[in-house]
């Protein structure tokens, strides 16, 4: 189109306006629910009934301050953070070791083993959650952060190994030969050369693991009975059940629960999008 645009000033004016209109309408569709939540949190319930759309008048900050001053919210933020970091640490550490072997060593059964791990992509929690719950109960891991961390790490292996193996393969064999000639052990090469070189890939898989753990709901829901262990998603859901008639307070809680995820997204957007689109364009 652009090659002809010079001859058609009308189109040049109309098209961008139409384009912007469409995009802005979609933007409103995306933003409106969140805006409703943010503003609703500043209203009291009476205002919400009489004036659900407009600005709050007067602005009522107490819903937000109540949540922020209650210990529960911060405990849940801490639990979610701790579980996300521990999950990521284990997933990435264990996967990196395995991906290194899959990428750099030839041995019998390698492709078969790799296929087994890759097939794990098709088994999300929903399928395995019930027997997983029984196993965790047998091991005494219910009401224990490890009961969420270890299964999350196990279910994160597939994607992490696939991405890391792809990256490890792309590092030229000459580097490994040179390191070996200089007396480097396989672990030395892995630890001192491969991992530092793989920093971008490690960042990508870490971001994916953090987001996955942060948003996980099903597993912490069945593993944690003790409110002191609840993560944010479980906390939000339980809070809704507890204060079902206090809409404004729930909105404030939901909005505050969004903040960490959105803050993380604004920092790690590049890695997140990069990780999610890996491979999807190549098939």
């Amino acid at each position: 189109m652009s090659t002809h645009a010079r001859d058609k000033p009308a189109i040049q004016v109309v098209r961008p306006i139409a384009l912007h209109t469409v995009v802005i309408v979609i933007g409103i569709f995306v933003l409106l629910p969140i805006l409703y939540g943010v503003l609703g949190g500043f209203k009291n319930n009476q205002q919400l009934s009489t004036n659900p759309i407009g600005l709050p008048s007067p602005w009522v900050p107490s819903n937000y301050t109540d949540v922020l001053l209650s210990g529960d919210f911060w405990i849940q933020v801490w639990n979610s953070s701790f579980i996300a970091l521990a999950t990521t640490f284990i997933t990435v550490g264990v996967s990196a070791l395995a991906a290194f072997v899959f990428a750099r060593f030839a041995f019998r059964g390698r492709e078969f083993l790799f296929t087994v791990f890759a097939a794990g992509l098709m088994f999300p929690f929903a399928v395995a959650i019930l027997p997983l719950f029984l196993l965790l109960r047998f091991f005494g891991l219910l009401n224990n952060p490890l009961g969420v961390i270890l299964p999350q790490a196990a279910f994160g292996l597939s994607l992490t190994i696939i991405i890391l193996r792809q990256f490890f393969r792309s590092i030229p064999g000459e580097i490994e030969e040179a390191a070996t000639l200089d007396g480097c052990t396989p672990f030395g090469f892995f630890w001192r050369i491969l991992l530092p070189m793989a920093r971008p890939a490690l960042a990508t898989v870490s971001v994916l693991a953090i987001v996955g753990s942060w948003n996980n709901f099903f597993l912490p829901l069945v593993v944690f009975n003790d409110p002191g262990l609840w993560t944010l998603p479980v906390g939000v859901q339980q809070f809704q059940g507890q204060y079902s008639s206090d809409t404004a307070r729930i909105l404030a809680y939901v909005v505050l629960a969004m903040v960490p995820a959105l803050a993380f997204y604004s920092v790690a957007e590049r890695h997140l999008v990069g990780g999610l689109t890996t491979g999807s364009t190549k098939g």
């Binding site: 995306v30 409703y36 264990v94 399928v127 027997p131 279910f155 729930i250 999008v273």
Partner: protein, 296 residues
């Protein structure tokens, strides 16, 4: 030696917490079991599965799953593709819109569901107010507590949450297509529609096939969003296999029966994944260009 040591942690974790649970689910699906102890004892053969075939809620789950898949393929994915192609044009604020549209995907299903419970609530809800505001009072509804509208409401929430994810994949796919190809077609006099239909769309094939795959697998296992939004109700009108499984496994302690549901979910995913890889995605290895030529 190194091989074993390096791979062992991953293998142990994977076998113990991914493969073993699936094997245990398969095993206990042949038993009547209330879930006490580690292993069931009351063997009943295929009874759980024959019961599933007569269970109207479960058959409804399958039907609703199919509806959601059709909705994704016919409305959600084309919409995401259209938006991706819009955002691929040169325009001011493009990076901002991309960031904004993808944002809902980062929020957890629970946050999304709780937020929309409020928005779709008959009193104090945003949705009805907006409909009244633009003069569409006739569309006002109780949305989530009305069996005839609950699935549409769910679809809208799913679109809000997931279209940005598919859009991002399409954008990445579109950006991997060299602009020379579309420009060449334009210079040859192709209309924008023909450029899209004969150049862009075939070259996006691999990405489209991946998004269809992710959409279908995701729908088969849908739980969080539905459970928090509606709990599967009213009267099972929005229930999914995941919710039914949760009800029987964790609320009614019919662990054998719930395991049978898990097994069906697993088999459906597996059969779909294998069939899809075999018949649909295999062509992607041949490369998109040859693919396009073969189609002509």
């Amino acid at each position: 030696m190194t091989i074993v040591l390096f791979i062992l942690p991953a293998l142990v974790l994977f076998m113990l917490l991914v493969l073993a649970p699936i094997a245990l689910a398969a095993y206990s699906s042949f038993f009547k079991w209330n879930g006490f102890g580690l292993f069931p004892t009351n063997f009943i053969g295929l009874d759980n599965f024959t019961r599933l075939l007569e269970d109207e809620v479960f058959l409804g789950d399958l039907w609703r799953g199919l509806l959601l898949i059709i909705f994704s393929l016919v409305i959600q994915l084309p919409l995401a593709l259209a938006i991706a192609l819009l955002l691929n044009q040169k325009m001011r604020g493009r990076a901002f819109y991309r960031l904004l549209f993808f944002m809902p995907y980062v929020l957890s299903e629970v946050i999304t569901a709780v937020l929309f419970t409020m928005i779709l609530s008959p009193e104090r809800g945003l949705a009805n107010e907006l409909l009244a505001f633009v003069g569409l009072e006739s569309l006002e509804s109780t949305f989530l507590s009305e069996p005839s509208t609950v699935m549409y409401s769910l679809m809208i929430v799913m679109t809000w949450k997931y279209f940005g994810f598919h859009m991002i994949l399409y954008l990445a796919g579109r950006q991997s297509i060299p602009n020379e190809l579309t420009e060449a077609a334009q210079i040859d006099g192709a209309t924008p529609w023909r450029v899209f239909w004969h150049v862009t769309l075939p070259l996006l094939g691999p990405t489209i096939r991946i998004t269809i795959f992710l959409s279908v697998i995701g729908t088969i296992q849908l739980f969080d969003l539905v459970y928090v939004l509606t709990g599967g109700g009213p009267v099972h009108a929005s229930e999914t296999m995941g919710v039914t499984m949760y009800e029987f496994g964790f609320k009614r302690f019919q662990v054998g029966y719930a395991s049978a549901i898990s097994v069906v979910m697993f088999l459906l995913s597996l059969v779909f994944a294998i069939g899809y890889q075999r018949f649909v995605m295999r062509r992607d290895t041949e490369g998109a260009i040859t693919n396009m030529r073969a189609k002509r």
